[in-house]
Symmetry: C2
Subunit: 505 residues, 2 copies
């Protein structure tokens, strides 16, 4: 056990303790942060049972622990957690943060305050408002408003509730049943995130009332959307909310916001854009066209904790009109004494972390150009990866990426012997084809087994996903600024090597 | 402008940057943390306009900023934010955290991972589960489960949704309207937190369907509760959820959980305990009797970020049965591959911060006895404060505290000349009394104006609140471990001094 010098600091001198711990942990934290540190490689992601044993059963005693015991536990947390700072952590839609991000979290922790009312968080409030106002400019909301939420699901739920409170006023007080509401209907693409479903479930709208519009190549079909809106009106239902996705979770596709927002306007529906993942393209002159039409929608959510590397959690909700957020206000008098800077009144919660600090500090440090560079770098890497996959015999793209997600299968030799890549794709898309089931099974087998092998080595951390009726495939979102072409080469080689090894079994 | 040595670190060496910033900021952070640092005293909490000017307009440029500029901005955040570590920050139900709390946040920031699935957060997941299991033991849930949420409101909403999904199964899929649901009815005390209302609003139940049961001295009246349940059944409504409060926001009162849970059982209603504030008494042998009967309820939420000093945000939701949480599951296949350790599947969101780390580390460091000591210290100070108020001619307790909130008025001399303290309380409680309006206005005048004066000095930061039909009063929750009797003496003297000064105007 690593003996900590902090044991000799008086328990009563908390400042000296903090000072000593910051000193002691600094090198460990920098070491973990360092991009050259390998991923957890000790065989595998330990099973819960193995890990629990390594952690000594995670005791919780009546009596507390010494600084030495704490330092050793903190070291174990760092040692046994995957290193999201590593360029080959590509498992999820978030990855590394930055030194300024970590410093921002340290400051938030030191302040330990709450972003509900101005008087306890004056700087936080101004920083949050400043970022919201600036993002509204990028989006084109002239009189827009918004605030930060603990995650995209909360932003989306808030958008749905705000839309309902605004469009169907009696429900806020009377509820759906007593206001004799028609069944409310929500639309989203078949590739939209499940937080729309969770929102509808939470709101008592019901999962069945979330109409999934087909999404060829990941993009919601506007014609089918309009048909389904008409149909729901004919059925005597109450369509009220359409969710567009800007950057779908799996394929990274962008819905046609311009066209969809026009349909929404025609039928008086609230148009929301879930840009949790793809939203940061607003900062890039080269790619902002992907998200054209934003100024015509009613609300947008963007998660800077994904592609922009702001520390988790940081989710922005923007509305086209700032006063509309008071639809959610309950004016709790013990807390809110009437200040327009008391942002908490507009949220669905009460207290909130001071996340505005980290969004502001990251933006200030990197500048808008720095945010754009992160986005553009991700595109470059995804394009390089696509080229590599296309030039690799054993790999097949699911489709050409429109964003920074690359999706592909490993193709074993027996499949390659009998079909061209073109044919494989056609067969997978053809439910009538008699070869489909065989192909489907072979591809899923290789995806699962290569993934299992990768999990046990953890030289690369990537995930797989299903979509529509296709066999599971690898999905690599190039979110980390630290990934280079060399890493891409390594990924491709590694996957092919493992695939071939499995073929030999 | 303070010149930072980090300017000379290569922009490309992020690890060295982190190292340099940790060094540079360490003394500033320790200084802010130090309990002897005065509150922000530069006149007042600056107005948004003044503060914006001090912060140089919070620029967000195309180009980024230098380390020196960043360090100066970080220093300003620390300088212009109230110091929640200060023993006289008594404005809200949270205050100082601890060195281990801050270190835990630093580790969470370094990992920058997400607590939705085990494979990206193995240690976090085990720590969260360990704390939940241990808290279930304290509560008496033999087969209980739960998880952490970003705040009490989210925990309460999750409890309400879980209850509805479990008791009224068809609503999850069909929604309230198509499942021809009766109007759902929620019960809480007149002193319950407004997050119950927000929950009912979000869920489409409607604010009018939250029945507020009268709460003499802050405690929900069980007889009225039962009457109102019967009444709602007679009306053809569907009562389903009763919220008990353990530690009300303003008075700190505890509902009679034993009695209320029996009524719930009789009518088949879900009994929830909002113990956001008072929950930590479970750790104190001396005070856990306040919350007797917990083992008979269906769910409980406790916020360790309040009285236990775990960094904000940290809210625990516990359910009597762990499998019941899968009522909220949607099984998103791109994310969840079937692991029972993938906690995110049970939440209303998707991603979550790795807050389990800080709850575990704080518990490990302080031990259960250390948590109990925090609770008991708060009680001691509140009792001392009560004694001081009672012994001070110009102050009047609203009622004797049953927890750690002390609520009191300043009484100006003209009032004291004409009435005894007993009489004042009687008059305020008597709507028919002709002196009531005059007394009411005088007391509100002093509360507001003393508060305004305190805000401009910021030697003490406290808040005021209204309740029922009483004039606004000061509410001091003794949440900080750092408050001593000497601080209490100072508070009492300061308030009386300011009150008298106002009288002389």
């Amino acid at each position: 056990m690593l003996k900590s010098k902090c044991d000799s600091v008086s328990m009563n001198d908390e400042t000296e303790q903090l000072n000593c711990w910051l000193d002691t942990m600094k090198s460990m934290i920098c070491n973990k942060f360092s991009s050259t540190a390998p991923l957890l490689k000790v065989g595998n992601v330990p099973s819960p049972e193995e890990l629990m044993e390594k952690l000594g059963g995670l005791n919780l005693d009546d009596n507390g622990s010494t600084p030495t015991e704490m330092v050793n536990m903190m070291k174990m947390i760092l040692d046994y957690s995957p290193n999201t700072q590593h360029p080959l952590f590509l498992d999820k839609l978030y990855a590394s943060t930055s030194p300024i991000g970590i410093m921002a979290e340290l400051i938030i922790a030191t302040l330990n305050t709450n972003a509900h009312v101005y008087n306890v968080s004056p700087v936080v409030t101004l920083m949050e408002k400043r970022c919201i106002d600036e993002m509204c400019k990028f989006v084109g909301f002239v009189d827009g408003g918004g605030f930060l939420n603990p995650g995209g699901s909360q932003s989306i739920l808030t958008a749905m509730v705000t839309a309902r409170n605004y469009l169907l006023k009696s429900i806020k007080h009377k509820g759906m049943v007593l206001s004799e509401s028609k069944p409310l209907i929500v639309f989203t693409s078949a590739h939209g995130h499940y937080s729309i479903d969770k929102g509808a479930m939470v709101m008592g709208i019901g999962l069945d009332q979330v109409i999934k519009i087909k999404a060829p190549e990941g993009k919601m079909d506007p014609e089918e959307l309009e048909e389904k809106i008409k149909k729901s009106l004919q059925d005597g239902h109450q369509p009220f909310f359409v969710n567009c996705t800007a950057g779908t979770t799996v394929l990274g596709a962008f819905d046609n916001i311009n066209e969809i927002s026009k349909i929404c306007a025609k039928y008086g529906l609230w148009c929301h854009v879930d840009a949790s993942w793809g939203g940061p393209v607003i900062f890039s002159k080269r790619y902002k066209h992907l998200i054209n039409g934003l100024a015509n929608v009613q609300s947008i959510n963007i998660n800077p904790h994904k592609l922009l590397g702001v520390p988790i959690q940081c989710s922005v909700l923007l509305t086209y009109n700032k006063t509309i957020l008071s639809e959610n206000s309950l004016n709790a008098q013990y807390l809110f004494h009437g200040g327009e800077y008391d942002i908490g009144d507009f949220t669905l919660g009460c207290g909130r972390r001071a996340d505005g600090i980290k969004l502001y500090l990251c933006w200030m440090y990197f500048g808008t150009n720095g945010f754009a560079a992160k986005v553009e770098h991700a595109f470059e890497i995804a394009q390089y990866m696509t080229m590599k996959v296309k030039n690799t015999v054993n790999l097949l793209m699911v489709q050409d990426p429109s964003f920074v997600n690359t999706c592909f299968w490993y193709l074993p030799s027996d499949i390659l012997k009998n079909y061209t890549k073109e044919q494989i794709r056609d067969i997978l898309n053809d439910n009538q084809n008699s070869d489909r089931e065989h192909l489907f099974k072979r591809l899923e087998f290789y995806t699962s087994n290569i993934h299992k092998e990768l999990q046990s080595n953890l030289t690369i951390m990537i995930d797989y996903a299903p979509i529509d009726r296709l066999p599971k495939f690898f999905r690599i979102p190039f979110v980390s600024f630290k990934v280079t072409n060399t890493h891409v080469d390594f990924i491709v080689n590694e996957i092919v090597k493992i695939g071939m090894k499995i073929e030999e079994r």
